[in-house]
């Protein structure tokens, strides 16, 4: 019974919470800057407004351009079903789903990049090239982090790797887990195009990475992209929360409270990082990503030593 309740709460949260995270990040940044900032629910209003608009599609584009936002949203939503929010809440779970998780993001990114290239604008092609380049450095870091968890739990299933056994490993393999945690946070910032990798607020063409790829989308398609991006942030945030706070209290409500606090905490942390750091120069971005890879790799080395 509790398993089903858990799964229902999981699906409800995965649908409703993601835009709130964007709101929390924006609010944190506003507080740091001494402004009042947009209301917490502003991303929801934006989504509703976008969904009510009409779309404009360039005549040079094909179906690929229209498929881009849909695939990005669907892959992110599927990923949100794979990752457990509390110890055993994942509705979809099977052996080897960690590979699926990584490549769902890959597929979403592939289609976003294709849609960007489909417009025929050189500017969007540039953004796509940057996004793909950086993500091919972020992916190994993510995978090596997963390897650490696989090695610890002896399972290839996300809900076991991030499940109830993880808490027992913190006292013994805490160093490796902490390294993975830092590495994954860097990956989170890179994959969701936050500062120091990319500034989600900027429209300065020379520095944009992700934002430039979605410039030609409008109306509901752009809404889907925003919502998909929020879901992606939610999934990565969940991975961080599960890794950092794997402890279980035994009661349903308390477990979900821990998760809720954790995911909001991650959003606040992103806001703090964005307020206290400047964007990295584009040529320095790969160095930080390689450093994230090295942290994860170091975690593995410490385990198998």
């Amino acid at each position: 019974m509790t398993a089903i309740t858990n799964q229902i709460i999981h699906v409800l949260l995965a649908i409703t919470v993601p835009p709130l995270l964007l709101g929390v990040v924006a609010k944190t940044k506003a507080l740091f800057a001494g402004r009042v900032g947009p209301p917490l629910l502003q991303p929801y209003y934006d989504l509703i407004r976008l969904m009510q608009k009409g779309s404009v599609f360039s005549t040079t584009t094909t179906w690929v351009f229209r498929a881009g936002p849909v695939v990005a949203l669907v892959t992110a939503a599927l990923a949100a079903l794979l990752v457990p929010l509390t110890a055993d809440s994942a509705p979809l779970s099977f052996t080897g789903d960690l590979i699926l998780l990584a490549y769902l993001f890959g597929l979403g990114r592939f289609f976003t990049a294709l849609a960007a290239l489909d417009t025929g604008s050189s500017f969007e092609g540039m953004g796509a090239a940057r996004e793909v380049t950086f993500s091919c450095l972020a992916e190994p870091a993510f995978f090596m982090g997963l390897l650490v968890l696989v090695k610890l739990s002896g399972s290839l299933q996300l809900s076991v790797m991030l499940g109830s056994t993880l808490a027992a490993h913190w006292p013994t393999a805490g160093a490796s887990l902490a390294l993975v945690l830092i590495s994954w946070f860097i990956v989170l910032l890179a994959e969701n195009s936050r500062i120091p990798f990319d500034d989600p607020n900027t429209h300065l063409e020379l520095t944009m990475i992700h934002e430039v790829m979605v410039l030609d989308h409008s109306g509901p398609a752009y809404g889907m992209i925003l919502y998909g991006a929020a879901l992606k942030l939610f999934v990565f945030g969940t991975l961080i929360v599960r890794l950092a706070l794997p402890w279980e209290t035994g009661t349903l409500a308390a477990d979900w409270l821990i998760f809720g606090g954790g995911i909001l905490g991650v959003a606040v942390l992103i806001g703090i990082v964005e307020s206290s750091m400047a964007r990295l120069r584009l040529t320095h971005v790969p160095i930080l990503l390689v450093a994230a890879c090295l942290l994860s790799a170091f975690g593995i080395v410490l385990l198998v030593r």
């Binding site: 805490g174 160093a175 902490a178 390294l179 320095h284 790969p286 160095i287 390689v290 450093a291 090295l294 942290l295 790799a297 170091f298 080395v301 410490l302 030593r305």
Partner: protein, 213 residues
């Protein structure tokens, strides 16, 4: 107490990578200073209760490596008016990767060494070897004299870490002597940096090849 040693060493190891991967000299100075201070506190953790000479060693190390030398280097940096290592011989990405390979090899090598019982499981030897390697990399691949001094400091941190294994056996005078050596070296190098800067209006050491009598 000893369960804190490995996490501390991991932080120290991560600082090696900061030092290898960052171009801002100020950041590298801070990283090396923090590493020096962390390592300076290690004797307290290693030996549980330490006597007066141990305390004195900790105090002198932390003061020297964490405060005096970094202050001095920052002063030298301001004097010479350089902020960045612009183009090292081996670029930052490659030095990070080389550092990682060195750390991996240090782990492998350390596991083959016949160590004393109480040191066998810890990260002491791998951390020490890889810090030495990182220092050596910085010493040889950076062009700015001040970065080379920092590489030298990193190298010394590694050696200090190795020396901790022998803290019981090593006379106090030797430790203090090493620290004094270090201080004098940095001091002399500071003066050299000043002179290179005045002679060539830059502190790139590649200029030194054009020196004549």
């Amino acid at each position: 107490m000893s369960q804190y040693i490995d996490p501390l060493l991991i932080v120290a190891l991560s600082l090696n990578f900061v030092a290898l991967g960052v171009s801002r000299i100020r950041a590298v100075i801070n990283a090396v200073a923090i590493q020096g201070m962390l390592l300076g506190f290690l004797p307290v953790l290693v030996h549980g209760q330490i006597r007066l000479r141990g305390m004195l060693l900790v105090a002198v190390t932390v003061l020297l490596k964490g405060i005096i030398i970094p202050r001095f280097l920052i002063h030298a940096m301001r004097e010479a008016n350089v902020q960045h290592e612009v183009k090292p011989v081996v670029n930052f990405m490659s030095s990070l990767l080389l550092g990682a390979v060195g750390t991996g090899l240090a782990m492998v090598f350390a596991s083959t060494l016949p160590l004393a019982e109480e040191h066998a499981g810890t990260l002491f030897v791998p951390a020490s070897l890889s810090t030495v390697w990182a220092g050596f990399l910085m010493l040889t691949t950076r062009k700015k004299a001040i970065m080379q001094v920092l590489g030298y400091l990193l190298l010394e941190n590694g050696i200090f870490l190795f020396g901790l294994l022998l803290l019981e056996a090593m006379p106090f005078l030797v430790e203090i002597g090493v620290l004094l050596d270090l201080f004098t070296c940095v001091f002399v190098m500071g003066i050299i940096i000043h002179h290179i800067n005045r002679e060539f209006t830059s502190i790139g050491t590649e200029q030194l090849t054009s020196l004549r009598e």
